[in-house]
Amino acid sequence: MHTPPEEKNHRQPAPCRGARRLLMVAVSASMLLVLATTADLLLRVAHQDDGGASAWMKAMTLSAPALWTAGSPMRHPETVHPGVDLRFSAGLVTAP
């Protein structure tokens, strides 16, 4: 049976079918991951809820989240005593 020249060009030899499938999987998996992550990113940003933590921060006029021990400067920054800055080097203590 005579095969049209265009179709003949498209037909892959048998050893290339696996390669073609591999290429198809690589391209479609990458695109799927990008699309899924992007879609979730956009949907999640639109429907975010912190469970009411922000509302209680406002209602109780809290100054900082409860991630540090009560009484520490990070939890209650307003309790930091105004010390006179006479340090030898201000940046040295925070340097890694």
């Binding site: 892959q12 591999l22 940003v45 469970g51 009411g52 933590a53 409860a66 021990t69």
Partner: protein
């Protein structure tokens, strides 16, 4: 009939090349995916932490005014302080706060009494404490025998716990004990009409620094004013530092990248004879480099995307996010992290550039260096020669 997608012959050839070295390609895929996962998880987590804290701090008062004297902090006369603060232009809604840090059963707790009415939408069915009663956070509730809470201070107080703050609000209420203003004054040793400090909101937040001098001058006693920006900056520094530490901890992963690149170089060196054969058959150097770049992309692109998607899921999907939070922070509680789309997308793009570009550059440069020789020189690199 479904028409098949047409791929360039060079891509098919590169895929065949990947199939020929299946083990090496799988190893490369696993290394790249795990490297991207480790770096992206650390950076996405610290960015999400920063966003979460910024969102919470956005609700905190712009300025907090505390009275100081020779002995340290001193209580303020609430009504007088409110009247004085209202005279300063730009000040909105000055609120006297009744709060303090007292000793609880397992350590210090934050005692707070709300002088304003808490909206019903915030309460969401929760009971409001009356005299001798308290609503406590999840952290305080863990150590309570029979719903009785002993609070130690200048005047110790025992209250009955009538309700708990919801677990979802723990980011703000974990160590909180909510009692009535009278109980708080008794516990903290304040006289009627006194408050701990004054919380102030501003009409324009940009005036936070400028208005402090006016506010300080408005009160007849010395005050110490703390602003929200300084607190936010401190939290941001913490978040960035924790992200930085996590990335430093990922240095072994970066060493893995070096091994990948080295492996790529060795691979190309072994293939020189094969490339010499291709060049003898009419392939150009550009063809060989293009083949290697496409081959690297066939393996690298899905690996990078899988690493990024896994890291994204590990930070923002609750079951996995709990494990990640435990891994990074060592804490057992998972806070609902805030997702900022632009920030997360930017971090993902940065990681693609951080890992993908050096990898492609290594493939490209080593291929160029190995494929520019004359075909007969390259054919002599055959180990059988």
């Amino acid at each position: 009939m479904i028409s098949e997608t047409r791929y360039p012959p060079m891509a098919i050839w590169a895929a065949r090349d990947v199939q020929r070295h299946a083990g090496r390609s799988m190893l490369l895929f696993a290394c790249l995916a795990s490297l991207v996962f480790l770096i992206a998880t650390a950076l996405l987590f610290s960015q999400a932490m920063d966003a979460t804290w910024a969102r919470l701090l956005d609700q905190s008062p712009d300025l907090v005014i505390r009275r100081i004297d020779g002995g340290g902090w001193a209580p303020i006369p609430a009504d007088n302080a409110v009247a004085l603060a209202k005279r300063v232009p730009g000040v909105l809604d000055p609120t006297p706060r009744l709060w303090g840090v007292v000793t609880g059963p397992e350590g210090p707790v934050t005692v707070m009494a709300s002088t304003a009415v808490v909206p019903e939408s915030v309460l969401n069915g929760m009971k409001i404490p009356s005299a001798g009663q308290a609503v406590v956070g999840q952290g305080v509730a863990r150590a309570l025998p029979e719903n009785r809470l002993n609070l130690g201070s200048r005047h110790p107080l025992t209250v009955t716990v009538i309700d708990l703050f919801p677990a979802d609000t723990s980011l703000a209420t974990h160590d909180l004990v909510w009692i009535t203003p009278d109980d708080a004054r008794h516990l903290l040793g304040l006289a009627p009409g006194q408050a701990s400090d004054l919380a102030v909101h501003l009409f324009r937040r940009e005036e936070e620094q400028a208005i402090q001098a006016d506010l300080a001058a408005a009160f007849p006693w010395p005050v110490r004013i703390t602003d929200r920006t300084a607190s936010a900056l401190r939290h941001r520094t913490q978040a960035v530092r924790s992200g930085g530490i996590a990335v430093v901890a990922g240095i072994p992963a970066l060493l893995a990248l070096l091994l990948i690149i080295t492996g790529t170089v060795l691979d190309h060196t072994g293939q020189r004879a094969h490339w010499g054969l291709l060049k003898s058959l009419g392939w150009t150097t550009a063809d060989i480099v293009r083949l290697q770049v496409i081959r690297a992309m066939i393996v690298g692109t899905p690996a990078v995307m899988l690493g990024l998607a896994s890291a994204y899921a590990a930070v923002f999907y609750p079951p996995a996010a709990g494990v990640t939070a435990y891994w990074i922070t060592g804490g057992q509680h998972l806070a609902a992290l805030t997702l900022v789309s632009s920030g997360a997308a930017m971090i993902m793009l940065e990681i693609v550039a951080l890992v993908g570009l050096p990898f492609l550059a290594a493939v490209c440069l080593t291929s160029v260096r190995a494929a520019t020789d004359a075909p007969w020189t390259m054919l002599q690199a055959d180990p059988w020669n």
